[in-house]
Symmetry: D2
Subunit: 305 residues, 4 copies
């Protein structure tokens, strides 16, 4: 029997548990043409978990090892069409099959692969694309779904059409105004879908991802930037305006500073040609863009796992 805390004893607050970073690679064969999906899946479950914290009773605990097994079994039984669809299936399973589990959150990282062209028969050779990591998070409480897609580590750079001036100067300000600077960032973005009710048709998750990625790239490239904040808003609003399935976008954009090197000691002029790409510190710009009338639900700190 559970050792319920006495009045005044410390009480349990929000909690969850699961298996993080289960790496699954699924091969599908279409004759001699093979397809692969390469995911990193993290399961997080919560519900009636007081006893295991207070007394150590595991009577309501599905082992994290079991959640790992379930990922592999579901890859076989149901295949993996998209990270979102796979996560939805997992979340529904855990919430509907275990009385003690009331909420599930599935996080997925997906690594893209390209085919290697070869004269050999068949198509079974791949090279990892190595650009951004695609992200998906699926949360389910037995009634309502919340699906957030995203990406991280998509590094972009404009060599011109960016300035930064007209800002506040105080006692500690030494930065000179920039009329033509390099603007670079490693995009970390998340976007939340309008879809919450599984009696309604779900979006085409893969198509949506591809289109959102295009919009954010073209908005970054096509915006004459007066500040990274303005570029961020341009990227987010472009997505919300063009993709009706998305209600909210949040970006965390490190300003990857490229400092113009002073070459005058060497008798040289640096006409926006030679830059030092700095590591730390970096500016960090974070903001949410919302469809008018929608609520901000993506957490302010973006996390990957």
């Amino acid at each position: 029997m559970a050792d319920i805390p006495r009045p005044g004893r410390p009480v349990l607050g929000p909690n969850r548990y699961g298996k993080a970073e289960t790496r699954v690679v699924k091969v599908t064969r279409d004759g001699a043409t093979h397809h692969i999906k390469d995911l990193n899946v993290s399961v997080s479950l919560s519900g009636d978990m007081e006893e295991v914290h207070y007394s150590g009773s595991n009577a309501g605990v599905l082992p994290t090892d079991t959640t790992k097994n379930t990922v592999y079994a579901f890859a076989k039984e149901h295949g993996i069409d998209s990270a979102e669809q796979f996560g939805i299936r997992l979340a529904r399973h855990f919430v509907t099959s275990q009385p003690s589990i009331h909420r599930a959150r599935i996080r997925v990282e997906e690594y893209a692969w390209e085919r290697v062209e070869t004269s050999a028969q068949g198509a079974h050779s791949f090279v990892r694309k190595g650009q951004e990591t695609r992200l998906a998070q699926i949360a389910y409480d037995g009634e309502r779904w919340e699906v957030v897609a995203g990406l991280k580590d998509l590094t972009v750079l404009n060599t011109t059409d960016s300035e930064f001036r007209g800002y506040v100067k105080d006692r500690y300000t030494t930065l000179p105004e920039a009329h033509d600077r390099v603007l670079a960032t490693a995009v970390s973005g998340r976007w939340r879908f309008h879809w919450t009710d599984d009696t309604q048709p779900a979006p085409d998750w893969n198509e949506s991802y591809a289109r959102v990625r295009e919009h954010l790239l073209s908005a970054f490239a096509g915006t004459y930037s007066l500040s990274l904040q303005q570029t961020l808003y341009a990227m987010g609003s472009r997505i919300v305006e063009h993709r009706p399935e998305i209600d909210e976008v949040r970006f965390s954009l490190p300003n990857k500073h490229h400092f113009l090197v002073d070459l005058t000691p060497f008798g040289l002029e640096n006409d926006n040609e030679v830059y030092f790409a700095a590591d730390r510190p970096y500016g960090l710009i974070e903001a949410t863009v919302l469809r008018d009338g929608c609520e901000a639900r993506i957490p302010e700190d973006l996390t990957n796992l």
Copy 2:
């Protein structure tokens, strides 16, 4: 003038900006005896920032470069007694000195150094301790303070007094029960202080950190563990019960699996002696422990920067 979105246009949600990861090392000289503080400071500001997102006007934007300069200037002007005290000073400065800035959040990582004993005169040689990273987060909105301290990467291990059994079995469960296992985790913890009103005396931040660290280590070591959840609760409740200045503790504990290697194919018995320390996947146990009557305010996903 700001280009305010038309009705129906996407709107700006929660946002903030600042300079992340300013690395500052402060040397203090007490004759030939030197002291150092080694911090990584991230400043995040928010307030009246609509214009910079909608139109790119920087009229209300204090540059992130200025916030970096301020960190260095304050290290000189005021010294660094503790990460918390330094962060409080910075946060107050930004909120009270700039009309457009209404909230500041300062995050600090601190790296500990030990003295190197030497026969040379003076005491000015140090070796980085390299164990946990100390963390502090200070938030201020002009009225109320929220201070959260913490640590990450403190790796602990018990070679016995840990079991895991009596759990739910479903179709996908294959894990055998363990009556004597290795329990290991890399502690990531955050604890929130009761102190919110700067007319009240502040805690001794450094003393508090040292005592909390001791409590969590001794609770980990002294608890006979039936589950990592139980150990987590023991660690959190020990802190809340012994440290009146703290209202809330949250831990994120990866279960760093140490699997007993099957040596029977080699005619050997493995009597809990030889383990494989696995990387991924890992169990992940996360929970908050609260002083009775207090509210959970630490975000569910712990982040470092």
Copy 3:
């Protein structure tokens, strides 16, 4: 005057010094069309450096800060056509301009960028390709050049046409033979050019890199693999046979194990469909392939910086 060690005192062996990881981004403008080169340059110098070690006299030491400045100045003065050409220019400068410096080794990492298509005027937007990192190492002693090109972190995978059987079994062998397995590796390769004499025409470094990369990918994809060693030799020999400018190739290939998950406990058959992508341990296969009659000069341990 130098404090030359007394007979019997410890003596200085091989030594070098320089500035590592100078990050330089060079923008070239062709009207509204911009081009970028993004390098990480490490300079290592050696020569008459006994005094600085024995007595601390810096009379023969060109500061590492100066080597950093030289990288930036040369990017402006001479541009960057290829990592190899840029490194050759730097190495020649240090060896020929400083009497105390007899040998220079320049290492370069290069990060590739792709254009972002946009409807905006001009072409000045880029997204980092994020696949392999291109490498170059240039060594010069005033007479002879040694140029080694390479890459790291090019991850490739075949879903079939790989087996592993017929191996030695001893008391500690438990591995079952595999008749159809996934073969995956993160290629780290280096190849040494025949060119050593700068009175002879140099290869087209960029063209050579592109062709070598194609050959190694097509050899990986097109080889029916009985062992990763065999695949490695196929990759190396393909390069040596097709590229007369290259005398030697060395690969370090981690065998990124993809273990077939046992689904039988769940009543499922795993017909080479569902794999666990493991982190550690991993097989590590390293070998050099030489043009007949040539000498192995690439160090057995590949290092990046």
Copy 4:
């Protein structure tokens, strides 16, 4: 039968293979007092390996999976007294038990743990020390042993007693001379033992490691530094002079620059108090120190795995 290359075909050069990064934790029980050793072991084998490269025949290949199993079995059968002793046992086994294997190289990383004091019965709780990683490399060719010990990631810092001046100035030199600077580095060191013949008594490996570590720390701390090269030589010569079991020491020392922040724009003087700890670029100083009459055998590029 092996597909020996035709005359003129590319030939195999230096090669080796094995299992890298086998993580083994060994628990030893002395009643209620437990001891742990925590190693990361990499095995590298070479010998008659032409066929597996040329034809894919595995007839002479002991699987890397077997070398992993052997690590675990030996931990049980023989225990782990030191990384060096454990590596010697493994190397001898592979070379003497397999006709096709002529040389073995074992690399070990060791992670140190400290006890957690607790009032609980027994002593079975540990916290990872988290400072340097101890390294050992053992090579054996059936006759001669070569043992190299070392460490990496031991970060040290002096707040004074370091200058840098009197150096060469050329067209690209802008660095001002420093009469009192912070000197900091993350020590990576390797030292080679005189012992090569196992009919002679071996050193006390653990005692030797502890003493070498003390000498390098005290030499770093106690040397008034005119250059990092001089400090390096002081560290190496101190070891060679005090430890007769060691013939050669090599260090790779990144100069972790701490730049004095210019506070004059804020009306403040920076009297060697406030520093910016920079990431990249960094100076890199590498040198070998030898017992007089000994040969340099440690490779110029230090690698960890």
